[in-house]
Symmetry: C2
Subunit: 315 residues, 2 copies
């Protein structure tokens, strides 16, 4: 019986289980920590309670819950799985050992995908007998509310495996982004890193405060980036499209990029300045409460964007 196996059921692993289950996949969940498995049903129920009002818990939320089963052994999780989504610790030695174990247990057709954001598939899968079926499928937190998944194969990953992974993620309702070559940070965190560096610098050097920085994105660039990427954005900002835009404004943008911040911007002083702006939300309880707010807003936004896409398709 083909299904998805979730290995490691922390926040990310559970959200992956939810993603696949609400799309109709059967999901088997294993975690080395029995308490995580004991709490699984309750945690999934809480995710359904939060997302159902926004239509993000699947066509039949009870079926979503029923599609997820915790299992007692890694072998049970993997037996017959079409794809394993591994969401364990981001430590190279642990990841290498876990992938060796997954590779030894899983059937030959099973894809082994890691949620890793920090490690490349070539680093943890090299030399395994089944290296060619290993890759990274990097989600954003939380994956059930932010649909992108970066698919980053190692040079030794079979192209057929990469394509199958892409189809499975798309069938699960995610948006796969295909990396053609490995690079640290993949695409998403590289883009986040340059925004963080320049933001921290502008704050620390006193050009703008934290609230102003966030407002500039939230009420400015982020409005367009919620439904278009930065490339389509520039394509619409000159009468002749992107080439016209880069001809007109490229030199100005290059000048700004030339003086942009890099790693030196990540100072303790900058961190303190940001922390001070969020002093009321800086403990596990207050952060968790605000994460709940964030997740409700993400669910509402997902519902809004789906509804707009449906309307645009009808027109």
């Amino acid at each position: 019986m083909s299904h998805i196996a979730i290995v490691g059921a922390g926040l990310i692993g559970r959200a992956w289980a939810f993603v696949f289950a609400r799309a109709g996949f059967q999901v088997r969940v294993w975690d080395m920590n029995q308490t995580v498995l004991d709490n699984l049903d309750a945690d999934i129920a809480a995710m359904i309670a939060q997302t159902e009002p926004f239509g993000q818990a699947g066509a039949d939320p009870r079926a979503t819950a029923a599609n997820i089963k915790g299992v007692a052994t890694l072998e049970q999780a993997l037996d017959g799985a079409i794809l394993v989504q591994e969401s364990g610790p981001e430590v190279l030695s642990i990841k290498r050992e876990l992938f060796a174990r997954l590779d030894a247990i899983a059937g030959a057709q099973t894809i082994l995908a890691s949620s890793s954001s920090a490690l490349l598939a070539s680093s943890f899968a090299e030399g395994l007998p089944g290296a060619s079926r290993c890759l990274v499928g990097h989600p954003v937190n939380p994956p059930h509310l932010v649909p992108v998944v970066e698919i980053s194969p190692a040079p030794f990953t079979a192209p057929e495996v990469t394509q199958r992974a892409r189809q499975i993620y798309a069938q699960a309702g995610q948006v796969p982004v295909m990396l053609k070559r490995e690079i640290d940070g993949f695409i998403l965190n590289r883009l986040q890193a340059v925004v963080l560096a320049e933001s921290l610098r502008l704050i620390e050097q006193g050009y703008v405060d934290v609230q102003g920085l966030d407002d500039t994105i939230r009420h400015g660039l982020g409005r367009r980036w919620a439904f278009m990427g930065p490339m389509e954005t520039i394509n619409l900002n000159a009468p002749g499209g992107a080439v016209d835009y880069l001809g007109r404004y490229g030199p100005m943008m290059a000048g700004l990029a030339e003086t942009s911040a890099r790693d030196e911007a990540f100072t303790p002083t900058a961190a303190q300045a940001v922390g001070a702006a969020f002093s009321a939300i800086s403990t596990p309880d207050t952060v968790r409460a605000r994460q709940d707010w964030r997740d409700s807003e993400l669910a509402a936004l997902a519902q809004h964007l789906s509804s707009r896409a449906a309307q645009n398709n009808q027109e």
Copy 2:
């Protein structure tokens, strides 16, 4: 009679007129090109037709239109204005000359604000008798659908003028971001520039294609950035908030920023690669049609975000 004066009524100037008028301000519009003035009523009517279905044309769209009057002379526009929003060409010599003229005509209490994205107030207002009432109020295109306005005073701008400008923009429903020191590109375009540089590099060097790059933002980072900034985003990505986040992930992010692209990424090859991805939308007509789609999506998103904010306030 106090009102807002719009000087230069191209796309940006007209959108500014609309912003102020829908908030209940009286608006006087002047442009050196009579054709622009002749078309003003029709252009405003078109903006109302597009935004009214999304609740973005003001409480009474007919009143919004009625609040906007084209006038034949600069003197008529400026007489009694509380703020002049200048949206003329981005050429220093023209801007300097225009500001000298505005300063000579406008009453002493009138704020002179430029929409400039490329020029600093210190460059075009220095030495004017009324230099202390000059500043930049930089909008995003289109300002009636993207509310941020970057307020960038020169060192010689009176703090009282800056605060009054902030109040007027806020009263008009915009989100003012206060720059504490001048910097090329202000905040928004500096952040856009680093994203463009890294994006163009990742595309040109073959890590990802244009669609994948845009999907990474649109279905990834942009989802959170539409209602939180990047600083609040990281504040929610570690149990102890931003300081905890930067302690855990700062070194990784710094490593990615260290190897990020700068001005060298703005190559003709990269521009061609982006252009090729949008070859169907690269002429004035096709770009304009897609801009209409963008503006409808921005209006729908503005309505969604207002509705969410109202619900969160009620809870």
